[in-house]
């Protein structure tokens, strides 16, 4: 995994410039200034917004404050989704900074999970890691770890410590030499166009005839509507079309992967858009997939 370190660091240190504004109907004793913050893509809203909360609570009375929650253009933000995922899904086509509205009352019970403490975030995070390992290693690696290792993973995330985190996470990204990869690839595909929150299915890294699966294979199998049929030189007015040409490349494992994505966009070739489909890679070693602010980085 050493050759992946650059990409791993890029993913970890990705940031989204955000402007937090208090909801206009909140009761304040004086005007509340907006609060600016660079949010880590890999973290969770309720984990990194203590300063935001303090800032707005300074101008409010205690009795007007109950559980904090965040909203973007009317949509309550699910704190249990990684920040980068929320941004990519909802706001990546808008200009920066990301404008988030802060609420302290009328918690939307039907939409959001409660987050009464940091322990709840830790429990959620660890449960995601465990589920991923159930898919990768039948839970053997995570269960063999000591409690202090689990704690180190969490502390690494909480305190933005790349090395501390990856000292443990690298064990979760390994597999025996005789295997070709994980048992199943942990992934989730999020789309704004569907009612279902995400697509998650069992998917092996290697096909029955021994071929290594590519990203394209995965998409064709579980989300065929996201893969446009190959019709070159067709541009849909006003939006970008994707023709993925996936070279046979590994989507899991320690080797360099290469991925070429061609895109025709009426705006010009300088930015590569994923039209309306956002992907979030859930603990998968897909080094070629680094989505940041709607721009896809790729290695050729």
């Amino acid at each position: 995994m050493t050759d992946d370190k650059d990409v791993l660091r890029d993913v970890w240190f990705g940031r989204i410039p955000t402007c937090f504004t208090l909801y206009q109907d909140e009761i304040t004793e004086r005007e509340a200034e907006p609060y600016y913050l660079l949010l880590p893509r890999v973290s969770y809203l309720t984990l990194v917004t203590d300063k935001v909360k303090k800032h707005f609570q300074k101008v409010m009375r205690q009795e007007d404050i109950s559980e904090i929650w965040f909203e973007y253009e009317g949509t309550p933000l699910k704190w249990h989704y990684p920040i980068g995922l929320l941004f990519d899904l909802l706001a990546s086509s808008s200009a920066l900074p990301w404008n988030i509205t802060v609420h302290f009352k009328s918690f939307p019970e039907k939409d959001l999970l409660h987050c009464p403490s940091k322990d709840v975030i830790e429990a959620h995070f660890m449960s995601c890691v465990k589920e991923a390992d159930a898919l990768k290693h039948k839970s053997q690696v995570i269960n063999e770890m000591q409690k202090k290792d689990h704690k180190q993973l969490w502390m690494g995330l909480q305190n933005d410590r790349f090395d501390q985190f990856w000292a443990i996470n690298r064990k979760l990204m390994e597999y025996p030499a005789e295997e070709n990869g994980f048992r199943y690839i942990p992934f989730r595909i999020y789309q704004t166009t569907t009612e279902r929150p995400f697509i998650q299915k069992l998917f092996r890294p290697v096909s029955t005839d021994g071929q290594l699966h590519t990203l394209g294979d995965l998409l064709k199998e579980v989300c065929p509507s996201a893969v446009a049929p190959e019709v070159p030189n067709t541009v849909l007015p006003g939006e970008a079309k994707i023709e993925p040409t996936f070279e046979p490349s590994r989507i899991a494992g320690g080797r360099k992967a290469s991925l070429a994505v061609k895109c025709w966009a009426s705006q010009g070739p300088s930015r590569v858009f994923i039209a309306r489909k956002k992907f979030h890679w859930f603990r998968t070693k897909l080094k070629q997939q680094v989505f940041r602010a709607g721009v896809q980085k790729f290695q050729l």
Partner: protein, 234 residues
């Protein structure tokens, strides 16, 4: 795509279908809901319950008596003169929803549930706890299932409470191994739900147990005695 393992998704759907057939026979209210793209689905049941102790009925003729007397003037009213009358809102009716989904990560069924008042206000976990019998509370804290947490429903995207699935196979496998040893077919959804359901206020009529053995074509004189024993061991 995947070969059916011990608790493969096809097996899950098969046993849910059998379970629902029996539910329909006895009017127990379970039904199958397919996801919009029909690739999967879940089993669900809704039932209503009047919350104990909060509703008081109007009785007697003294409707004009106010119950909320200032403390200094509080006098115990002579009970044989009139009944307590509290101007209640409608008796607290609570809607409980139970969903049974399949976890492909852990390859086991998972129980999701939530409760709300008729006006949509949700119940917090501690309120749901109050409806659970003491003995089940103890079991839940000691049993092979870890905790109840609030999570997002994977198909509906809304907050539900969930019994954590990671230890399910630990207690389910012995039940199924036992039954296979004595060459009996068991609907594992029935077994599983009868074990985890009561801890969260969901009870299964006993006829499910006998139905499970009959549906698979097994005629057994002792009927569900062995299966009940396995359940009790857990």
């Amino acid at each position: 795509m995947e070969e059916d393992e011990f608790f493969g998704e096809k097996t899950f759907q098969h046993y849910c279908a059998e379970f629902i057939k029996h539910s329909q026979k006895i009017g127990d209210g379970w039904e199958w809901r397919a996801s919009k793209d029909c690739s999967d689905g879940y089993m669900c049941k809704t039932h209503f319950q009047v919350k104990n102790g909060t509703a008081m009925s109007h009785q007697g003729t003294s409707a004009h008596v106010q119950t909320f007397l200032p403390v200094e003037e509080a006098v115990d009213p002579p009970l044989d003169d009139f009944e307590v009358t509290e101007t209640t809102t409608a008796a607290e009716v609570i809607k409980y929803e139970y969903h049974v989904l399949y976890s492909c990560s852990y390859q086991v069924p998972v129980l999701y549930f939530r409760a709300s008042f008729l006006d949509g206000r949700p119940l917090a976990l501690k309120d749901i706890w109050e409806g659970v019998h003491e003995c089940y509370k103890m079991r839940l804290l000691q049993g092979p299932w870890d905790t109840i947490t609030q999570q997002e429903h994977p198909i509906l995207g809304q907050p539900f409470f969930v019994l954590h699935p990671c230890k399910t196979s630990e207690f389910l496998i012995p039940v199924l191994k036992n039954s296979r040893k004595i060459n009996r077919n068991v609907n594992y959804i029935t077994s599983w739900l009868s074990m985890v359901g009561p801890a969260v206020g969901l009870n299964l009529p006993l006829s499910y147990a006998t139905a499970a053995s009959q549906e698979e074509g097994n005629v057994s004189g002792q009927d569900s005695s062995i299966e009940q024993k396995s359940l009790e061991e857990h």
